[in-house]
């Protein structure tokens, strides 16, 4: 049984979505994350164990990404495999059998349309048991504020890729903090740094999806 759970981790790490998926080549024809999750659930293994297996797989691919051994396409395939697992686990979240760790309102700030990093973070964070409300790209401050009012218990995640939209990010952080002083905000994106995040008043900075997960999990603990 633990072998099956370990295989789920491997399928997530390698991006093996299901049996019919031709990727990766060396796992062709084998059961993927989709089939294995169903088998494991049918055996009575709890969804939290499966979620943990997902996290291990994403952790491993995240580390390889950090070492430049794999790149965004491999990471996205891993996220797709993870989504295949999550599709089976969603009913458990809905019923409350598995509780979401919390909510993250996520968006790319106004004037910026880059979303690959944000989408990756969204997928990885969901796979780590968080509910993600993704507002998309070019999100004005007012929209973030509106969503916060609907979900006041959330954490906020802001993304930007252009150096010049960091100014919009800073304004958004400032506006959120002025209306909701206790709201926690994490920022990310290529032009950012820990120092830039601190200067704009954010509570956290993540250079990659794993960093975002670590920040959120620390808040939830």
């Amino acid at each position: 049984m633990s072998e099956l759970v370990e295989k789920i981790s491997l399928c997530v790490e390698r991006g093996k979505v299901n049996k019919s998926s031709p990727y990766p080549k060396d796992l062709s024809g084998q059961d993927g994350a989709d089939e294995l999750t169903k088998q494991v659930l049918d055996l009575g293994i709890g969804p939290d164990i499966i979620l943990n297996a997902c996290n291990i797989g994403m952790q491993r691919i995240g580390e390889r990404f950090g070492r430049n051994e794999v790149f965004v396409p491999e990471l996205l395939m891993a996220a797709k495999a993870m989504n295949a697992v999550m599709a089976h686990l969603k009913p458990f979240f809905k019923s409350g059998a598995v509780k979401a760790k919390g909510k993250l309102i996520l968006g790319t700030v106004a004037g910026d349309l880059h979303d690959i990093g944000k989408n990756l973070v969204s997928m990885v964070i969901e796979g780590n048991g968080w509910e993600v409300i993704d507002l998309g790209v070019d999100v004005k401050t007012e929209k973030f504020i509106e969503k916060i009012k609907e979900h006041p218990e959330s954490i906020i995640g802001l993304s930007a890729l252009l150096t010049t939209t960091m100014a919009n990010m800073s304004k958004t952080v400032h506006e959120i903090k002025s209306q909701f002083p206790k709201m926690k905000i994490i920022v990310g994106g290529a032009p950012l740094s820990q120092k830039a995040a601190e200067q704009m008043g954010a509570d956290g900075y993540a250079p990659d999806p794993q960093g975002a997960v670590a920040f959120l999990n620390q808040l939830a603990s």
Partner: protein, 250 residues
């Protein structure tokens, strides 16, 4: 190397549309792979096949439009934080003004490959194929950059006919030039020029569009982008330039 076969149409005085067809471009899978971060032959076969498939789709999904306008350039006396292009003041970092301040003219340009590729990418994302969506998006970005390279070369060729030279190109959103100044740049072009519009937050639509300014003068020369001296150390454009070959020509 200049492309001598492109044609331009003078729409108004000093305002031109340049006709670039897909057949004028050379999008190579190896360049795509390098842009994505894969060194020679390191990309998984699965992704290289997807890249080939996407490149084969480019001709029918791209609608290329480009154009430029020549305007006077003037440095305001005693100020180092920007330039007048026409009668409009642009606030620019010295990374940009340092390159173009001594010139007398500028070419304001725009390019687009239309919305076909972006729509395809969006649909793939909706359908749950994020990896393919990312590859389509990346190749679309590379394609519009290639179109911009051709336009840049064409403008250089045109200016050479009058004994003039050109600088690198600079775009709002990069080199610390605020993206909000897209509104100023577009105010100097006819509305909907080359089919490109701006959102309130200064994003161009279609998304795969490029705009910017090129300096023109008798003694200027194109230099390497001054990434090493720029204060923005984590700029993704710096990383992209490190990973790609120099621009392609026909």
């Amino acid at each position: 190397m200049m492309n001598h076969s492109l044609k331009q149409i003078e729409v108004q005085k000093e305002l031109f549309e340049v006709v670039i067809n897909f057949s004028d471009l050379a999008i190579e899978s190896k360049e795509v792979e390098l842009t994505l971060g894969y060194m020679e032959n390191k990309i998984p076969k699965h992704f290289s096949m997807l890249i080939d498939e996407i490149i084969s789709e480019l001709p029918k999904r791209c609608s290329i439009k480009t154009g430029y306008r020549i305007l006077q350039l003037k440095k305001p006396p005693g100020k180092n934080d920007g330039l007048f292009i026409g009668d409009t003041f642009f606030k620019m970092d010295k990374i940009v003004t340092g390159q173009i301040k001594k010139l007398e003219k500028a070419a304001l340009f725009v390019c687009t490959i239309g919305s076909g590729m972006e729509n395809w990418s969006k649909q793939l994302l909706i359908d749950g194929d994020a990896a393919m969506a990312y590859l389509v998006d990346s190749i679309a970005s590379l394609t519009v950059e290639s179109v911009t390279n051709l336009l840049h070369d064409f403008i250089e060729n045109e200016m050479m006919k009058n004994g003039l030279k050109i600088t690198n190109r600079y775009s709002p959103g990069y080199c610390n030039w605020s993206v909000s100044e897209q509104h100023l740049l577009f105010s100097l072009l006819p509305q909907n020029f080359c089919g490109i519009t701006l959102t309130d937050s200064a994003l161009m639509l279609p998304i795969k569009s490029v705009s910017g300014v090129i300096g023109i003068g008798p003694k200027v020369k194109k230099k390497e982008y001054l990434c090493d001296t720029c204060g923005v150390k984590d700029c993704t454009y710096r990383a992209t330039r490190r990973n790609t070959k120099s621009k392609k020509h026909i």
